[in-house]
Symmetry: C2
Subunit: 457 residues, 2 copies
């Protein structure tokens, strides 16, 4: 272990500089205007994998953004770890809320502020550097395959096709991903589940043009008002979702499982003050940990319609729209929920408007068994490096591809995340603690070590 | 009369060319970036008033956009008509819906398409040309004062101050305005009332930053969802407005008055097909004519929050906002309604969010007596020029300044509008029929003639 620590110590500054260079690429996958930067980002990662000692490194083209592949096969008889990560990031908007530019990484009290600092460039790049560390400290104890994609934030559609088409090439014993959070460095944790996703866009059309709100107001259905009405009706007074059949497939946890889950440290006062809110909100009968972990949700991600410029315009808008996404839990199916939403939303629209529902993308929920060799290896790695066994948690986020790995490659995933919930993922001022970055680089080689050892038993 | 027709006939093309020149100025008062164009528009009108023969023409500066004044005093013993109009226009957005550029007037089957074609440049300029006609066909039978402002679309605040400060200068016997609609050239009508206005902007703030909808979704109140809920609660199942006290001051019309009102020709099938809607909407127990004329309304003019760009962003927004305006009827008071709304909206906000309500501007409703000399003069003018007596109607729009004229100058207003409800006021492809433009120029001198005659009786 000490030689690993020594190597990291000796290369600390370079490891940080390389991450900064990576963070400077505005690789936003949701917006086509960043296409060129996305391609440059893929090339940069390929170059770094090669210089770290990976073989067969290639930037694999897809119908969308390319996938970076690289491998190191030390011995076919040894277990193989498939490392997954993504180099694309969320849009940086709203820009005015960033204290420093999103694509100009800046360090403030030990934290790197930049879009993608944690999700997922910072965490993905830990694996590239951990690989370099292993290559320079006796070599990796397992075979390693890297698969770094550029469309995670928009649904990983092309990765899905890539996986289906390259089952041989991607054959492995486990998938290792750092794209989630732990409670804190003092309370290391391992996520044992992820929520699925169903994302749609809705458009309500009333009159065929914007109208004078004085001449027509009061006599014509206002699409903004109708959309508000329809969105409101999607939750009941207990904040249960009202879409018929929505909860039918939800896997309910046992009393014991819920108790175990709620043992995780959670400070409500700190949680509220961090978010600047006076009161929490959510589905009646569940704790915050449960609402964000084991329960499905429905959120409005964006809403717009009518005049939103400076000043006042007395218009009755022709259209109003919203982006709405639902987080799904085991055993809900993204396709099923998407069509349930679509049917329901169309059915509740009054005759006085037209409604259009357009599915964006989806992903399936996933659960990681805590009794697997891979999970135990992650546990031991964290225990050794943090001096504390990790707490098993359910993550609220979605990595749609995890379910696909299981379906197509028959592989379980270990979610060894080093981020924090407070890292402002998808928000302005996204950050990643430098300490977590280095801690990850030191811990990952231990996972490979224990995965190799435990696999032999 | 014939010599008036002859003069109009002989100058038709020039009258149209001058209006086109006026329409090319993008004099949008709601957006400060058009300030320069607004000033040029005022100068243009001053120049045209002068060349038409008006005296004491001046561009009066205000804290906002200037007011153009001009007069022709033929004989202090004669009645005086104060002509009011406005040269500012609504914002042209959404631009992509215009078939031809909003500030490049274009004629298609006898209609002028341009922002302001009807509201109010086209109708206001009829008075400038009618004045020129009178000057060249024996002179005006009444004294005339022009007051053309540049802030009608944003609340006429500075005009209010100007009127208070210039009561002597503006002394008259009646105010004449063409800024409303008639049913059609076949069914000429005169508006006998206008609705008041209360316009506010609301902002709901949840968490202090945009959040990852997976990590926090389900546990934190979503401002877009809460705003939708609050907006929905402003109407009950009969589309009555739920703000306590909102209807307290509403002047209810008698059964007879309502019957008279509903005698106006109204073709529901044509109304719906013009708007492209399958079903009308509105307050239970009232007809469309009543909903848009004698009943107060509450409309969402704009709504926005969260991610509204291309593609998908799984964000739980920090803020959501809306522009909301209410149309008021006699005897509602704009200030009262504004504070009732503010109090109510703040009171219904759940503890999990913060709410900010910002009043934009307001205006008072107004009614024109149908037994006045001025109204009778307008009736006779229209009857002579259209061959048909005008139908008295209640207008749904607002000209806040009308109530102020009565309060400050003690003057009643005659609303002699030549536009049509289908002229797309405040909408893309605003239009004004060339026939209505010329008809107005021919009819206005008749109003002055009969107002002078009837005043003597």
């Amino acid at each position: 272990m000490s030689h690993i620590k020594d190597y990291v110590e000796a290369n600390k500054q370079r490891f940080l500089d390389e991450l900064f260079e990576l963070l400077r690429f505005p690789s936003v996958s949701a917006d086509s205007k960043y296409k060129e930067d996305v391609l440059k980002t893929a090339d940069y990662i390929a170059e770094k994998l090669t210089s770290a000692g990976a073989d067969k490194v290639e930037v694999c083209p897809t119908a969308g953004n390319p996938i970076v592949y690289g491998e190191k096969i030390i011995d076919p008889s040894q277990p193989t770890v498939l490392v997954y990560g993504h180099y694309d990031v969320q849009p940086p908007e709203p820009l005015e809320l960033w204290h420093t530019p999103p694509f100009e990484p800046t360090v403030r009290d030990g934290k790197i502020f930049a879009r993608g600092a944690c999700d997922d460039k910072g965490q993905m790049y830990m694996h590239v550097k951990a690989f370099e560390v292993m290559q320079n400290t006796g070599g990796s104890p397992c075979n390693i395959k890297f698969m770094i994609e550029g469309e995670e934030e928009v649904g990983s559609e092309n990765l899905g096709l890539f996986v289906k088409a390259n089952k041989e090439k991607l054959a492995a014993d486990v998938v290792l991903i750092s794209d989630t959070a732990m409670i804190s460095l003092e309370h290391p944790s391992l996520e044992t589940g992820l929520r699925g996703l169903s994302y749609l866009e809705v458009e309500i059309t009333g009159p065929n043009r914007d109208l004078h709100s004085g001449v027509y107001g009061g006599a014509v259905a206002n699409p903004a008002t109708i959309l508000a009405k329809m969105i409101t009706s999607l939750h009941d007074e207990n904040n249960h979702i009202t879409i018929p059949g929505f909860y039918d497939d939800v896997l309910e946890l046992s009393k014991e499982e819920r108790e175990a889950l709620n043992k995780a440290p959670f400070d409500e006062a700190e949680y509220k003050s961090d978010l600047g809110i006076d009161e929490l909100w959510g589905e009646k009968g569940y704790t915050t940990i449960e609402r964000t972990g084991i329960r499905p949700t429905l959120e409005v991600n964006g809403i717009w319609g009518g005049y939103i410029g400076e000043g006042a315009k007395t218009v009755l808008p022709s259209k109003a729209s919203a982006k709405i996404s639902m987080r799904l839990v085991p055993n809900q199916q993204s396709a099923t929920i998407t069509s349930l939403f679509q049917k329901h939303f169309e059915s509740i629209a009054p005759k006085s408007v037209k409604v259009k529902v357009t599915p964006h993308h989806g992903g399936e929920p996933a659960v990681t068994p805590t009794d697997s060799v891979a999970y135990k290896a992650a546990e031991k790695a964290i225990e050794e490096s943090f001096g504390k066994a990790p707490i098993p948690c359910r993550g609220g986020g979605s990595i749609p591809i995890v379910a696909l790995f299981e379906k197509e490659l028959g592989l379980k995933t270990v979610l060894m995340g080093f981020g924090l919930d407070s890292d402002n993922l998808h928000s302005p001022n996204e950050k990643y603690d430098i300490a977590n970055y280095y801690k990850g680089i030191e811990t990952i080689p231990l996972f490979h070590k224990y995965f190799s050892e435990l696999s032999k038993q």
